[in-house]
Symmetry: C2
Subunit: 79 residues, 2 copies
């Protein structure tokens, strides 16, 4: 069964680089990758927060958050 990987971002330059260079490199045979733009899809903020995401870009794999560098704090996306 494929693992679920959810990439949370905000369209920031750090986010775009992390997506293109790193997250896009995940093996699609093993991962179902979903991309969520929290700036445009604010109703997913709670889901990111519940998974432990504190900043974007971050990817949640099997419920575990992995923050990749630092683009923006989740708190700032709520404003």
């Amino acid at each position: 069964m494929k693992k679920k990987a959810t990439f949370f971002h905000a369209g920031c330059p750090v986010c775009v680089t992390a997506e293109q260079q790193f997250v896009d490199g995940l093996d699609v045979a093993r991962f179902d990758v979903e991309r969520v733009h929290l700036g445009e899809d604010g109703k997913r903020l709670g889901e990111a927060e519940a998974a432990g995401v504190q900043s974007v870009p971050a990817v949640v794999i099997d419920g575990q958050p992995f923050h990749i560098n630092f683009g923006a704090a989740l708190a700032d996306l709520k404003k």
Copy 2:
């Protein structure tokens, strides 16, 4: 041509989780993944630093550093 991905770690729990859940997910058809334990292989510290790595775990892809969560500062591995 495969991209080079170098995973720098220090054997810490955060490092192990990042490796097993995330870095191991990179598509080996597209990436040559090398794993470097900076605690055991201190002579690679300069290489990590030159690539902009400030903490581990981190993966350097095509010369760009991606820090994954936070395990230990590079400065603390030099002591």
